[in-house]
C-alpha cells in the first residue's frame, strides 16, 4: 500500500510487521517517533509485544540482551548519545551472539549540543561486531529493517544488526512508502543457544586465554559468512517485493572515471550532482555505500575516488575515506562535509568533484579548503 510516511514511521511499520516479542527503549531526539509509534501499537493492542520503557539506553540494550537470550525477537532504537551510552552493552550483544535489531538515527555528538545528522555516533560502534547498514530513503529504511531481522537471525550470522538513517534529513522527511505483505519472508526465530530451563547452561562465564580468541574468531567468521546471507536476503527481497538492493547503490558508475562515495542521504543527493557533472563532460558516478560492516568489496580500481565523510576520527581523518584507502589501496580526495547537519547541496557535491584533490583532505566550509 502506498502512502506518505517519515523515515521514523517507516522503521516503526517494519518493526510492527516483524512482530518482535520484546522492545526495550528510551526516547531520544530524533528517533523518538520510532519507539513512540511502537509503544502505540502495543498499548493499542495491535502488536503482542512486551514494551519495556527503561530508564536509560544502557538498560535498553541490557533488557534486549536478556530478552534475546531466551530466544525471542527483540528490537530497540536510539541515536547519538543514547547509542554511546549503550556502548558496553552493544559489545555484549554481539559477543553473546544475539540477533538484536536496532535502528540508529544518526545524530551528532555534543558538545555543542546538536540534534542533526552525522555518522560519527554509529561509526564509533564499528568494531563491536554489529552489522551496519546505512539507508537513504523512507522506503529503504522500511525495507532494510525487514531484511535486518532475517539477516541477524540467520543461523550463519547470529549477530546484531544496526540500521542507520540520517537524523531529520531522513528520520523526519516524508516520502512515499510502499508497504508489503511480508508473508514468511522473516522465518520464525530459532536461537540455537537460547536459555532452556530443562537444560541448564552457563552464560557469559569466565573464558580464559585458551578459549577467548576462538569466540572472537567465530564472530569474524560469521561476519564473513554474513556477506552471503546479506546477498541472498537482498536477492530474495527483490524477487518477492521487486525492490533491488546491493552492498552499494551505484549510479552511472559503469564508465565513470571519478566516483563519489558517501553514506546515507548525501549519497543519494550525489546522484543529482552526477547528472550535472556528466552534462559538463565529467564522467562521474555515485557509489553510495550501504553496508559498512561487513565492509564490501568495491569496484574502484583505476578510478579517482571522492569520499564524503559525515563523520571524523580526530587526529586521523574521515572514517569512510580511511576505510576505503585501507581496503582498496586507492588514493582518495577526502571531503569532510555535512557534520552536525551542515547543509550540503548537490551543487556543493558537484563542486567537491570538480575541485577534487586526490590524496588530500578538505573540510567543507573551512577557510582554505573546498
Amino acid at each position: 500500500m502506498k502512502k506518505i510516511a517519515t523515515g521514523n514511521k517507516a522503521v516503526a511499520e517494519a518493526v510492527f510487521q516483524a512482530k518482535p516479542a520484546v522492545v526495550a527503549a528510551y526516547p531520544i531526539t530524533p528517533q523518538t517517533e520510532i519507539v513512540e509509534s511502537i509503544a502505540d501499537y502495543v498499548t493499542g493492542g495491535q502488536l503482542a509485544c512486551r514494551y519495556i520503557p527503561v530508564e536509560s539506553e544502557h538498560s535498553a540494550m541490557a533488557a534486549c540482551i536478556g530478552a534475546s537470550i531466551t530466544g525471542v525477537r527483540t528490537f530497540t532504537a536510539t541515536s547519538s548519545h543514547g547509542l554511546l551510552y549503550m556502548h558496553e552493552m552493544t559489545n555484549w550483544a554481539a559477543g553473546a551472539r544475539l540477533p538484536i535489531v536496532m535502528a540508529n538515527v544518526n545524530r551528532a555528538l555534543g558538545p555543542g549540543w546538536n540534534i542533526w545528522a552525522e555518522h560519527t555516533d554509529a561509526l564509533q560502534e564499528r568494531d563491536t561486531g554489529w552489522l551496519q547498514v546505512y539507508v537513504a530513503t523512507v522506503q529503504e529504511a522500511y525495507d532494510a529493517v525487514l531484511m535486518a531481522f532475517r539477516i541477524a537471525e540467520h543461523n550463519d550470522v547470529l549477530l546484531p544488526v544496526m540500521v542507520n538513517l540520517d537524523g531529520f534529513s531522513l528520520s523526519h522527511i516524508m516520502q512515499p512508502l510502499d508497504t508489503v505483505e511480508t508473508g514468511d519472508f522473516i522465518p520464525p526465530i530459532r536461537l540455537p543457544h537460547a536459555i532452556d530451563p530443562n537444560n541448564p547452561a552457563g552464560y557469559g562465564t569466565l573464558t580464559g586465554p585458551a578459549d577467548y580468541y576462538k569466540f572472537r574468531w567465530d564472530i569474524e567468521r560469521s561476519m564473513r559468512d554474513a556477506v552471503n546471507v546479506i546477498r541472498e536476503t537482498q536477492e530474495e527481497f527483490a524477487k518477492r517485493f521487486g525492490r533491488k538492493y546491493g552492498f552499494t547503490d551505484e549510479y552511472r558508475c559503469e564508465d565513470a572515471d571519478v566516483v563519489v562515495v558517501a553514506l546515507g542521504t548525501l549519497g543519494r543527493e550525489a546522484e543529482v550532482a552526477i547528472d550535472i557533472l556528466r552534462k559538463e563532460g565529467i564522467r562521474a558516478g555515485s557509489m553510495r555505500l550501504r553496508w559498512f560492516r561487513p565492509f564490501p568489496e568495491l569496484d574502484l580500481a583505476g578510478r579517482e575516488v571522492v569520499v564524503i565523510d559525515r563523520d571524523y576520527s580526530f587526529g586521523f581523518g574521515g572514517i569512510v575515506a580511511n576505510a576505503i584507502m585501507a581496503k582498496n589501496r586507492v588514493p582518495v580526495s577526502s571531503v569532510i562535509a555535512g557534520i552536525g547537519g551542515q547543509e550540503v547541496t548537490y551543487d556543493d557535491i558537484a563542486g567537491f568533484v570538480r575541485q577534487r584533490r586526490i590524496g588530500e583532505e578538505s573540510w567543507f566550509g573551512v577557510n582554505g579548503h573546498v
Binding site: I4, L170, H172, I173, M174, P176, L266, E271, V344
Partner: protein
C-alpha cells in the same frame, strides 16, 4: 521539479499542510517529499516547511533555497521573515489574507483561510485550522487536483468540515 516553501508559526499546522500536499501529489501519480525545517522552534515562532513535487523520484534532501511557490499561512510572519527570499523569477505567492497584498511584483493570490476556518467552526485549542483549507486553494492553482486534495484530507481527518473548508477555499481564492 516544483518546490514549495510554507511559512507559518509553530502550532499552526504548517508541517501537516506539507504532509497533506505531498499525499495529494502522490494520489495524482507524482512523486513528493515533505520536510519541516527543525530548529529550536516553539509554539508561535515563525517556522518553515518544504514540499517538492516531481514526475520522477526526488533525490534532493537539502533545503529549498529558490522555491517556485511560497505559501504564507500567517501573514504576521512577514514582519519578521523575508518570505520572498530566493523566490524564483516567475515564482508566485499564496497568502492567507482577506485582502490582496503586494509582493514586490511577484504574482500573488489571497484567500481568507482564517475566516473560512472560523465560519466552518474548524478551531482546535483556540486556533483556526488552516492546513486543510489551504489544500483547496492549492488545488484551484493547479498544484494538485481537487479530487486528490479531498482524498488526502479524508485520509487524515474524519471531520468532513475540513473538506468543506477546502471547497470554500477553492471557490474563494483570488484569481
Amino acid at each position: 521539479m516544483f518546490e514549495i516553501r510554507i511559512h507559518s508559526r509553530g502550532g499552526q499546522g504548517g508541517v501537516t499542510a506539507a504532509r497533506l500536499l505531498a499525499m495529494a501529489a502522490l494520489h495524482d501519480g507524482k512523486y513528493a517529499t515533505a520536510c519541516p525545517f527543525y530548529s529550536a522552534e516553539r509554539r508561535g515562532a515563525p517556522v518553515v516547511s518544504f514540499v517538492r513535487i516531481d514526475d520522477h523520484p526526488i533525490k534532493v534532501y537539502s533545503q529549498i533555497r529558490d522555491p517556485d511557490l511560497v505559501v504564507v499561512l500567517d501573514a504576521s510572519v512577514m514582519d519578521v521573515v523575508d518570505v520572498l527570499a530566493g523566490l524564483k523569477k516567475g515564482g508566485s505567492v499564496l497568502v492567507n489574507s482577506a485582502h490582496p497584498r503586494e509582493f514586490k511584483g511577484f504574482p500573488s493570490r489571497f484567500v481568507d483561510l482564517t475566516g473560512i476556518a472560523l465560519r466552518e467552526n474548524l478551531v482546535v485549542a483556540g486556533s483556526p485550522i488552516l492546513n486543510t483549507p489551504v489544500l483547496g486553494a492549492l488545488a484551484k492553482m493547479g498544484i494538485i487536483s481537487a479530487e486528490s486534495a479531498k482524498k488526502a484530507i479524508r485520509e487524515m481527518f474524519t471531520d468532513e468540515r475540513n473538506v468543506k473548508a477546502a471547497e470554500s477555499a477553492y471557490r474563494e481564492v483570488s484569481a
